[in-house]
Assembly symmetry: none
Homo-oligomer: 211 residues x 4
DNA sequence: GATGAATGAGGTTTCATTCAT
DNA sequence: TATGAATGAAACCTCATTCAT
């Protein structure tokens, strides 16, 4: 259990600082000079750890993607005999996801709003991750259709609805209406997850058995 | 025999070129030199028409905002005796909105994904417009609650859901999963509007009387 | 006859300063910052006139090459009935060439010694020009062989000898033994040309009719 | 079971790698990082062996100079009763020299073309060695003049001719017209030496008794 | 209304060199 | 003897912006 090597600390600091700055200002507005100033090292040190500013971001995105997809795929146990079972499943799954997002708000900021348009490679990294999220949701809906729990109608389209509902709501939850990085959620994880699940299956009209 | 291309024409060209470039590359990646190159004028000409690159964008956003809000507020005739009436209303309103978005895809690209993180003033312009859209939706839901057509429950939250569902779905519709500016919609305006309205009120479970 | 435009003056200054610096320090040691300092303009001005430092040099080399080849090809009137006629022809031709070299010593410095190893494109530019010079000399020898004035023996090899004798002697003449850019020729153009021509045809042993 | 590669081995490797790189790319384009990468050691190791990159090169040049001068001075046995004796002597001497150059082509690359303009100290090292070579040649000619074998005319100038003819021809022989480090000689050592010696004393016109 | 030419500030990246271990 | 990690100085180049004409 040897103590963490200095280099690793510096490297982690650089990643953290880069993440924070890019989340709040975007890629182009974030200068290497500012990243290193926050870490108390020189710019040359940055380039010892990373081949370029772009590579730092791509590494950032890749590691965020890995942990996010991990979370996404863990969920959805399959006992679904009724629509209400599906609501329950969705609710649990959303809860896990929201916790992840809450704990990784800076990564989510880049993924959901501050990333596009920075650089083609970053665009791709974001699009890939978002598409992966869509695929998971689409898979779940398709399975429910196969089991006869949902009507076999416009699966892709409705998966896109759920996907965008979910992403957009997370963005709103974490950053508010004006995309403020300092915004604090006004709703608890549990309430949001439940309301989202209700809305997902019953829309504004509700289930009929709501309180 | 130069045709009399007056100042207004140049100005409009600059705005159009700026809009196209920013929509596809983002604010920082869009250079004044590129904008003017597309218009066949010099950079100094740009600065005769606009005080700065930022001002061009802000003007862009303001004019987009005006026409968008115009469209948004035109809708929603008030005869709502049943939920199905509301679905019909939503459907008509969505249709108008989608038409606008389709006709202004570059502005929507900036508004929905390529704008944040460019500059605090741009961020504000975007946030304001998006919030205005949310307010319209929230107002409609609140009215339905007042009229006893919807349950008086979590109005803000559910307005946020609808708002993000709508925005996100438009983004997907216009630009696909990987935010490709060249993407072509795979669903017609009418079908998307109807499906959105159905989903808005009944969720994945559907209305029961769907085809 | 309008007075020379400012821009052209600046551009010429930059070229001249670049030529002088590269001739004396080599390509890599010559900094854009130094070039512009000598011209009293900013670095951005440099990049308004030239796309890059490399392009400045390539332009330099290209224009030097053009005038040099022009000089090279002007020479060699064809009356050669005896070896002594050839010596006379060579002498005149060398005189022209030496005058050019004397008037363009900075370009010659780059071409003959300070250029190689700077950049692949520069290497090519130099090699091309030197090869062109060799070809002219080889052509002359080949013609003399065809006319029966020289023995048909190892033409390529002996052309290479003459070429390198000439280049090397020019280098020595202009820059001395230690390649000093400030060196002043110790021999007049005419004497050098005559001695070179004698050596070219008779070697150290001489013509027998020398003084 | 690491083989005992002691300090001297590492040092020699560094020198060899440096020599190869500088010969092919020039001084400035050769990075310490690249030298050490080829040797499998770190940059800090480099600086344990050498005080600076410049010192490595100077050492390189000094050792090349020592062996070259050794070769140069070994030659020229003094029996010269006729010009043909001198041709024979030159031929033998050139043969030795060409062998050396062939075996040390990387050093010759730096000495003859890739060195100038790198750094004042390197320039000096090169100039000194080349001047030493000139002195040897001049001494031989002077002796021949003293012995009455050559005419007492323009000794310095003609020594310079011979010197530059020799150097330039070696450069051409080793690296071709476009200074390609990979070039293979197209003429054997013996043929080149003989032709050079013939040319040295008789020029293009030849000896009259040539084959 | 527009141009040609220039500025100034700052960006990313490079590279020889050093120092604690 | 050597390494891993860092420094400092400076290089090339970019780009929004300006100004005289």
């Amino acid at each position: 259990m040897k103590e963490p090597r200095d280099a690793q600390v510096t490297r982690d600091n650089l990643i953290r600082a880069g993440l924070a700055l890019i989340a709040s200002q975007g890629y182009h507005a974030t200068k290497v000079s500012e990243i290193v100033r926050r870490c108390g090292v020189t710019q040359a040190a940055f380039y010892w750890h990373f081949p370029s500013k772009l590579e730092l971001v791509l590494e950032l995105m890749a590691s965020g993607r890995a942990t996010l997809l991990d979370t996404l795929r863990r969920g959805y146990r399959d006992r679904i005999e009724s629509v209400d079972d599906m609501v329950e499943n969705s609710c649990r799954w959303f809860t896990d996801l929201l916790r992840y997002c809450h704990d990784n708000r800076e990564y989510m900021a880049i993924l959901l709003a501050r990333g596009y348009g920075a650089d083609p490679q970053i665009d791709r990294a974001i699009a890939d991750t978002r598409t992966a999220m869509y695929e998971v949701l689409r898979g779940n809906i398709a399975r429910a259709v196969d089991l006869g729990r949902l009507q076999p109608q416009a699966t892709d389209l409705r998966a896109a609805f759920v996907h965008r509902l979910l992403e957009g709501s997370i963005e709103w939850w974490l950053f508010g209406h004006d995309y403020d990085l300092q915004h604090q959620p006004t709703v608890s994880t549990e309430v949001l997850a439940r309301q989202l699940a209700e809305f997902e299956f019953y829309g504004l009209n509700g289930s009929g058995n709501a309180g």
